[in-house]
Symmetry: C2
Subunit: 450 residues, 2 copies
């Protein structure tokens, strides 16, 4: 039911505000800016993701009769306003940082300019889509970075926060360098490679562990990864070695074994020894179970003999930072730059651009400027929608490549997992001056200061 | 696209395992048990939620041609297996703890008995649905408890982890005693009351704050809650008082003011004084912004003059515990009780029941038993689906009332927000004996011990 109906997936106050704007004939263009105010713990960068869903949503935004009927029965809205809503489409312009690029706190990820009712009503969905995917792509980038070139696969679906998250996590983690996902629907929908072999239930459903191993190897001789920790990991490794040797006799090859519990640094070394003793040197050791970037880093420091990681829950919910301090703020209305002064919540006024300065191929600093300013550097915000029609449609593989390239150009001190340095983000003098003027005017007008 | 297609929302290994079961003609009944292994930090109980979605999913489980085509092109599956999948429906039985009831760690929330392929393929969705809603209902219950009778409203949609979570959070928090949500689609879909008035953008879009207040009061005279912290909370309160008095002159009443930033204990007291000075004693003070159960408790201890709370992100993602250690484990196959021995991951074998012992109207302890045992006490697991057909269809308001009643009967030492006592959960002697026998046999068989 949702997909047909997402325009109603918003907060009630968007409609009460819209009704007031309508009554007061406030149809002038408004610009809203989407940005993240603070880094979550241990974060020093963000990965742009989620824009494709935003553009899909904006392009198809409309209310159906059932939506209007529901709004009518709240008793809050006039018939003529509801009639107006029935004809409403999103007609605005959008500038955004393309998916896969890095960005930093305070930088606008996306700016929407549209008649205020349109720009206001889409707030909730836009925030929701970008918040989730940026958060996950950033978490996933950290996992890939920790794995130091070893493969990482998304195993999170069973504990993502809902099924929409399950799909978007598969996509966002793929952008950040995961090689694929266990999520079959995500594989189908996004064209992401899918991975998976067996669970403990498979092993326990057979009378003996080795029967389960043999049944699987017979069925999927090209793709056998045996889960060896159901009863005892090292004993399981010996049984896997038996099956591995049987496969060789049949001209096949055991692809790998998986460890899902216990002290994985020690166990992986013991398992490696068992496999090598059996002459199975090319059998991959796959680890899963409670992994995240911190645990991957620790395992590798401890000398774990692990070739690939299945990363689930802690990535899929971004467990150490399960939300970002994302905000969608009105920065201009009818040509007038605006802001709020609420404690601890700064908003940068007006339409903006972010210029990225590159030195020797490395990211040096960013400058947040007015969009009307022409600074040197790479302008991050690109026009992505014009008059309600999308003007980009990036391929997922291109987005993934874009991330990989730019991440490679970010110095390690900004990328490290714990307490990274703060990447320098400056405010242009043009923006600074306008900001100060607007703050002064607002204080004068609203607080009686001068 | 999802709603038509959720049967594919699963992990690839469910299909590879199913293909092996199919090849080996393993169609015997299997029982899987869903339970949570550990309490997240500061949790001493869980609230059952999510069952309705599980039953909807099971009742409509089937693969469409497009799903089968996708599976075919992975190259992993035989035509006859795919043909079999095309005809597959869920035909099993389900026992579950009804939504709204309390349960504790290790207790089975739900047990599915079905031919092993069916019970295996539905694993991922079942875990995902129950994990999210239990986690959120539990978090929300803590917020309601902290608020001590004051109203609490769900404001989380903009930062829930995706849109499915946005809907399920509204539902789960309503079960746990929230009075409603800002989420309009959830309001429509579940029949939950919706709330909301204005954002900062509304205030800044007008030339002066008081113009915004007057416009809103004129438009919604029965439902005016003014957001007063856009520029300065106390000055905003004075403006709200002016508008409140203007409303009285027109025979109307200012319903409330909202504070969304700053030191809310102090500010709420100052705002209360401003309102009382203006004779507006019945104007409600509404707080929002970064709230959770810990902050609500602290605010009230500090003497905050707050009548209602809008709780958003931290509840909507269960920020201090964004996942549970939920597991879906095979406990019986073809009449044989089974388990795994993996380090630190105990599974209780066989089909089970949980008996709740009540003393003087209060929850005293629970006993996990074999389902075949007849103990005194209230059996928590009820038959909810028989042969693939649901046999319950609880009304959301009844679920909400069920929670409220049982939560009232749980002693405060298990409910407190920090380091609650551990509610006593025993294992029946029948279950203990069978468990020990199975562990002994499995060790003998798989580890060569005796």
């Amino acid at each position: 039911m949702w997909k047909n109906n997402l325009s109603l997936l918003t907060d009630l106050y968007e409609f009460t505000m819209a009704a007031c704007y309508y009554r007061h004939k406030m149809f002038a263009p408004a610009t809203f800016s989407l940005f993240i105010r603070e880094y979550p713990p241990n974060r020093g960068y963000f990965v742009s993701a989620g824009l494709a869903d935003v553009l899909d949503f904006l392009e198809t935004f409309h209310f159906k009769q059932g939506d209007l009927d529901y709004l009518a029965q709240t008793g809050l809205f006039s018939d003529d306003f509801l009639h107006y809503l029935g004809k409403l489409r999103f007609t605005g312009d959008v500038f955004a940082i393309p998916e896969g690029r890095l960005f930093f706190k305070d930088e606008p990820i996306l700016e929407i300019t549209a008649p205020i009712i349109e720009a206001q009503l889409v707030e909730t969905f836009v925030m929701n889509a970008i918040n989730l995917q940026v958060m996950i792509a950033t978490k996933a980038a950290r996992c890939v970075h920790a794995a130091g070139g070893r493969a990482v696969v998304d195993f999170s679906l069973r504990r993502t926060q809902g099924i929409d998250a399950g799909l978007k996590v598969a996509r966002a983690s793929y952008i950040a360098g995961f090689i694929g996902t266990s999520n079959v629907l995500a594989g189908k929908h996004y064209g992401i490679p899918v991975f998976g072999t067996m669970a403990h239930s498979f092993v326990t459903s057979f009378k003996r562990e080795i029967d389960a191993f043999r049944a699987f190897a017979e069925m999927f001789p090209e793709n056998t990864v045996l889960l060896i920790d159901t009863y005892d990991t090292v004993i399981g490794a010996h049984k896997a070695a038996i099956v591995g040797k049987e496969m060789i006799e049949k001209g096949k090859r055991l692809k790998g074994v998986r460890i899902d519990s216990g002290n994985m640094a020690e166990l992986s070394q013991e398992v490696k020894a068992v496999l090598e003793e059996a002459g199975l040197n090319d059998v991959m050791i796959f680890a899963s179970g409670g992994l995240d970037e911190y645990k991957i880093e620790r395992l590798l420091k401890e000398g774990a003999e692990i070739d690939a990681f299945g990363v689930g829950t802690k990535m899929g919910v971004s467990a150490d930072a399960p939300y970002t301090d994302i905000a969608y703020k009105l920065v201009k209305y009818n040509g007038r730059p605006v802001l709020k002064l609420s404690t601890g919540k700064r908003t940068l006024v007006d339409e903006k651009q972010v210029f990225r300065i590159i030195e020797n191929g490395k990211l040096k600093k960013d400058i947040i400027a007015l969009r009307s300013e022409q600074l040197s550097g790479d302008p991050l915000l690109r026009p992505v929608m014009k008059g309600g029609k999308r003007i980009i449609n990036d391929d997922l593989k291109d987005i993934r490549a874009r991330f990989q390239e730019e991440f490679g150009n970010l110095a390690e001190r900004y990328r490290r997992l714990n307490a990274p340095d703060t990447y320098p983000v400056e405010i242009s003098s043009g923006l600074e001056n306008l900001q100060n003027q607007v703050v002064f005017k607002v204080k004068e007008k609203e607080l009686g200061e001068s």
